[in-house]
């Protein structure tokens, strides 16, 4: 059984450090083999998880949620009030979205999501997290110098805009609803969804104007 003993585990980590091969792929391969031999893992389930998150579960889901909110004020209201219930209408609830909250960008507000302590992320609507989101640099800097971080993503935030950074320290997960760009009046949900980038839903993208994408 799990011991919940911090010192014991720190010692185990040092042993692992000393004995594991350096190459991650070799480490994972051995772990997978061992788990299968122990009867704890079905390799076909691994394949299935990869397929599901490669083919189906990803930022396209979040984009669809955002597009619907742009086109349907009643849906937008439900999304703000209870995001978990609102994404469930589209069948998108699941991994890490039992306590989802949607936060809205406006002319005067920009939202940015981070997890400084680990890598919390709303998987079932955004898919797997980008590497930069989980990296030391983003985790350290997003709360302290969000404008400098956003500038690296090509996003300039004026002094008149309030930047709200959401540090996912509990089991709440955050979805940024970007502003609907001008020039998209009358567009249907699918066409709008194609404008919504993954980064816009994390907050590291802001202006989704179609011209910028060179599109349509």
């Amino acid at each position: 059984m799990t011991t919940y003993d911090s010192k014991r585990v720190a010692h185990i980590h040092r042993e692992l450090h000393d004995h594991l091969p350096s190459e991650p792929a070799l480490r994972v391969k051995a772990l997978e083999s061992l788990l299968v031999e122990k009867g704890m893992l079905n390799r076909a389930a691994v394949d299935q998880w990869i397929e599901l998150y490669t083919e189906e579960i990803g930022p396209k889901r979040g984009a669809q949620v955002v597009a619907r909110a742009w086109n349907d004020p009643a849906y937008r209201k439900r999304l703000i009030e209870n995001a978990t219930a609102a994404i469930d209408e589209l069948g998108f609830t699941g991994n890490a979205t039992a306590h989802l909250r949607a936060v809205e960008n406006t002319t005067g507000v920009h939202n940015l999501v981070v997890c400084t302590l680990c890598s919390c992320y709303p998987y079932s609507i955004l898919g797997t997290a980008p590497t930069w989101y989980k990296a030391n640099e983003y985790r350290a800097r997003a709360v302290r110098e969000p404008r400098a971080v956003l500038a690296e993503f090509g996003v300039a935030i004026g002094d008149d805009v309030e930047v709200r950074v959401w540090d996912s320290t509990a089991e709440l997960r955050y979805l940024v609803i970007p502003e609907r760009p001008a020039g998209t009046e009358g567009w249907d949900e699918a066409r709008l969804a194609a404008l919504v980038t993954r980064n816009a839903m994390i907050g590291t993208d802001r202006d989704l104007a179609p011209a910028r994408k060179g599109s349509r």
Partner: protein, 223 residues
């Protein structure tokens, strides 16, 4: 815990690697490690807060330098060893010397879709009532905690305002020791000027900014 994971506000890390291909997985081993973790019961008696704490306990230099999913591998290895399911020799060799634990059969491929839709709730309807209300000024504990906690160092001792009550959620500090105890949770807003000395300067570059954190009642005191 005062560990390497508590990165918020630490200075002079380099630029963010923004030029990353937007794909679900960047390599085969990363994909498999991610999926293994979703396909197994990591260890008898484990929970997510303990899992996070086990990551925090990785050697500080390894924590800051080893690839992200390599750390997942090491977490799982540590969980297996800690709970007596595997030995370090088995982890290194990839060969089982003894039978596995007495767990239900592993997740089958036909069960993956349902598992992906499963909601794990952390709120508890029968938890205690909240002591603070929206708008209240609160100060985060100055001292932190010896074990796992979700109070980052950068808000310790700082004053914020309750933005909203979130109900009673399971307290990670207790859960990571195997105890399921709910406590009122709040979203708390801290102004940049309260958190960062340079934000107080008249010529501060990072103006009009704030950070929201979700903090449990025992992390806070009235301010």
């Amino acid at each position: 815990m005062d560990g390497p994971h508590d990165l918020g506000g630490k200075r002079f890390f380099g630029p963010v690697a923004v030029d990353e291909p937007e794909e679900a997985f960047h390599s085969d081993w990363e994909a498999r490690m991610w999926a293994i973790d979703h396909a197994i019961e990591p260890a008898p008696g484990w929970n997510l807060d303990w899992w996070r704490h086990v990551r925090e306990l990785i050697d500080p230099v390894d924590y800051l330098t080893r690839p992200y999913f390599d750390q997942w591998m090491q977490i799982e290895a540590a969980l297996l060893i800690d709970s007596g399911v595997a030995t370090i020799d088995e982890i290194v060799s990839g060969k089982a010397a003894t039978a596995g634990p007495d767990l239900p059969p592993p997740l089958g491929p036909e069960e993956v879709r349902a598992a992906s839709k499963r909601l794990t709730r952390y709120d508890r309807a029968d938890g205690p009532a909240p002591q603070y209300k929206t708008g209240d000024a609160v100060r985060a504990n100055a001292v932190g905690a010896a074990g796992h906690t979700r109070l980052p160092a950068y808000v310790r001792g700082r004053v914020g305002r309750i933005e909203r009550q979130c109900g009673a959620h399971v307290l990670p500090d207790a859960k990571s020791r195997g105890i399921d105890r709910a406590e009122p949770l709040y979203t708390v807003r801290f102004e940049a000027e309260e958190l960062w000395p340079e934000a107080r300067a008249a010529d501060a570059k990072e103006r009009r900014a704030c950070v929201y954190l979700d903090l449990w009642e025992s992390y806070l005191e009235p301010a």
